[in-house]
């Protein structure tokens, strides 16, 4: 369905990534945001809290990030598209209820404008070190989807995609910005509402009495019933059967958890998204994401001047990881180079996917700034030898 025009600020704007993300959320139909102030993410909710009252949206500043995450799950069960926004320390607090959203299969979007960590770290300075936390941060086996924008324009576009993926797969979607993209101001073009596709909540057509909240006869993703529509359903963070009733058994655990893994794992090909350039004849492929992707482009230019055949693969969807594509490339290239603003996180995924067929060389940066392109270029040149 098309976007609600009241949430779409059509036109060309000069916005930072945080504002653009907020605009993307409103354009996607998000009408509930709960959050707790944290640098460098706060501008997202500042933007939203200024515009929500005019479009039927509610923003509430909760007492902490635990509450913010819990509130958006509750809100989502009314069918209202919901989001919370944070950075590292708050992201840590959200992990508990991110697990609940995964288990209850609640569509929602969690924005993390990454800063340097661990702990309080570098509140105003860039980091990309929450990538593994986004994937594994809550306890137990579960799957999420994570996206990484590289510019304010993408912060807008991909936020809409994040909401759409959350609806399609009934998962919490992690929107993994970084401080640089969040605070970088660029031209952002917002199209007319009629050109924006929004995935609506997949509400069940079944009648109360016939409906089971976690029946999945038609596919891996159950149909949704909203609170207040007469279904009088039950849902829980406990392992549950198709009725949403707790069942403490090996068989139920197998059925319940396997399905919430499979709904992502068996749809990986539909979900993965990356930008790929000149990988055909490349000796070295640079795999990166977010702000580092833009720095890496400068490095690639430098390396090409030195005569190295360099390809480029930018993760747009970081989780699920494009394992198959890396496997294919690993057969052809001499090495992968993986610059990122952490000590080597997505590097581990590249390594795992290439399974020893090509080495993966990390170019770490511990945060607070972006790489010097020369450092990445040097790694590329070395790798090509």
């Amino acid at each position: 369905m098309k976007a609600d025009p009241s949430g779409v600020l059509t036109g060309a704007h000069y916005l930072d990534g945080d504002f653009a993300c907020g605009e993307g959320a409103m354009a996607a139909g998000c009408r509930f945001v709960a959050g707790y102030p944290i640098t460098p993410s706060t501008e997202v909710v500042e933007r939203i809290s200024r515009r929500f009252p005019m479009m039927g949206g509610v923003f509430i500043q909760m007492e902490d990030e635990l509450a913010s995450m819990a509130a958006i799950i509750g809100a989502s069960w009314t069918g209202t598209k919901s989001m919370t926004v944070t950075s590292g320390p708050g992201f840590s607090l959200m992990m508990e209820n991110i697990g609940l959203a995964a288990m209850m299969e609640t569509p929602c979007v969690v924005v993390n404008v990454q800063r340097g960590g661990p702990s309080t770290g570098l509140p105003t300075m860039v980091g990309q070190a929450d990538m593994m936390q986004a994937r594994w941060g809550s306890h137990g086996d579960y799957e999420i989807i994570a996206l990484c924008p590289q510019s304010p324009q993408e912060a807008f576009n991909l936020t809409i995609d994040a909401f759409n993926l959350a609806e399609q797969y009934r998962v919490p979607v992690m929107f993994m910005m970084d401080e640089c993209v969040g605070h970088m101001t660029e031209r952002v073009v917002i199209p007319p509402a009629g050109e924006l596709e929004c995935v609506p909540r997949r509400l069940t057509a079944k009648k109360p009495g016939e409906y089971l909240p976690y029946a999945f006869d038609g596919g891996l993703i159950p149909e949704f019933a909203r609170a207040g529509d007469g279904y009088r359903f039950h849902t829980t963070g406990l392992t549950h059967d198709q009725r949403g009733y707790p069942v403490m058994s090996v068989e139920c655990q197998q059925e319940n958890v396997q399905r919430i893994l499979d709904k992502i794992r068996l749809n990986v090909d539909k979900i993965v998204r990356f930008d790929e350039e000149q990988t055909d004849k490349a000796d070295v492929v640079v795999v990166t994401y977010g702000i580092t992707a833009r720095v890496a482009r400068a490095a690639i230019d430098l390396a090409r001047k030195e005569g190295v055949k360099v390809g480029f693969l930018r993760l747009i969807v970081a989780w699920p990881f494009p394992e198959k594509r890396i496997q294919e490339l690993a057969k052809k290239v001499k090495a992968f180079v993986v610059p990122e603003i952490n000590r080597g996180q997505m590097l581990l995924e590249v390594e795992r996917a290439s399974a020893g067929q090509a080495p993966a060389i990390g170019v770490p940066h511990l945060g607070g700034g972006v790489h010097d392109p020369h450092d990445i270029a040097q790694a590329i040149v070395e790798a090509a030898k």
Partner: protein, 319 residues
């Protein structure tokens, strides 16, 4: 007679009725559904609570209140946290959410704000609501968010095996305070009242009629409504403190309860096996969070203000 027996046996075996069976003087067998069966998930019975536990009584009084008020149950949601009382949502035939430990209040806040037409009740234990969830409790009261919060207080962590709670009276023994508790407990009605709750009551599970009446009142009020239900846990609190059976605990409630409606909540602290001041302590009207939001935005934004639709945010308005 054997024909009667047969009808009774058949009725008892059917899973779709939860029969109240009576036989008329003319030997006619009447099979009726229990009037509260409609409010409970009878397909989940028997419940997990121990014999003599008071949580079921609290849940039953809530169901009774819904029944007596003829509340439209399609517009009531109940949210629980984790623990023994955390299981209440699982047995209520409402839109029911068994959320995470300590978080039912913020979960319920999201539900209420996005579907304001719902009556949202939070049903959870003392450890859940004022232990791990204490921060959410005080802030929800401060905001006067439209929730009916029912806290079943059994003075102990039951589900995990009898550990010390923020409500354990001084000197009471728990599995983690084996030599007696020296940590000062919360006076929860006072906490709720001082943070801004608009309705505050406390009853024990002995006071079923008064408790039901409080539920009925609270359901009809707005804002942050708080009911503390003192409930026996003979399995842990009773056993660890050598207080006898569930029956003995109920006898204690009878002997030690004093009803002081309108009591100053500063005076309702509970001491070990001491006086239990019960009653309706507070019942006042204050603008709720949602009312304040509407009022404020209408004043400053006028016509430009678009409130959240009663049935939820935009995407649903389109179907």
């Amino acid at each position: 007679m054997s024909h009667e027996r047969e009808i009774i046996d058949q009725a008892e075996m059917r899973s779709d009725v939860h029969p109240v069976i009576s036989v008329t003087p003319d030997h006619e067998v009447l099979v009726e559904n229990h009037p509260l069966a409609e409010y409970l998930r009878m397909d989940r019975m028997p419940h997990i609570w121990c014999p003599t536990c008071g949580i079921g009584i609290a849940a039953k009084c809530f169901a009774e209140a819904l029944y007596e008020l003829k509340v439209d149950c399609t517009k009531v949601a109940v949210v629980s946290g984790i623990g023994c009382t955390g299981r209440v949502a699982g047995y209520m035939k409402l839109d029911a959410f068994h959320s995470t430990h300590g978080r039912p209040i913020p979960f319920a806040t999201g539900l209420k704000l996005c579907r304001p037409e719902l009556m949202v009740a939070v049903f959870s234990g003392d450890g859940d609501l004022v232990g791990i969830g204490g921060n959410h409790f005080i802030h929800a009261a401060r905001r006067n968010i439209d929730l009916m919060v029912v806290l079943v207080n059994n003075f102990i962590y039951g589900m995990t095996g009898g550990q010390n709670a923020p409500t354990t009276p001084l000197t009471a023994r728990t599995s983690t305070m084996p030599f007696g508790n020296y940590e000062r407990p919360f006076n929860i009605p006072h906490l709720a009242a001082s943070c801004g709750a608009t309705y505050v009551a406390r009853w024990t599970t002995l006071h079923v009629r008064r408790l039901t009446r409080s539920f009925k009142e609270a359901i009809q009020r707005k804002g942050f409504r708080f009911i503390e239900v003192i409930a026996p846990c003979s399995t842990l609190y009773g056993r660890l403190n050598k207080l006898g059976t569930g029956f003995d605990l109920m006898k204690y409630y009878r002997d030690a309860s004093e009803i002081h409606n309108g009591a100053d909540t500063r005076d309702v602290q509970i001491d070990f096996q001491g006086k239990l001041i019960c009653g309706k302590f507070l019942d006042e009207e204050k603008p709720t969070y949602i009312e304040s939001m509407h009022e404020h935005y209408r004043r400053v934004l006028g016509e430009r203000y678009v409130p959240m639709p009663d049935t939820g945010g935009w995407i649903n308005g389109q179907d």
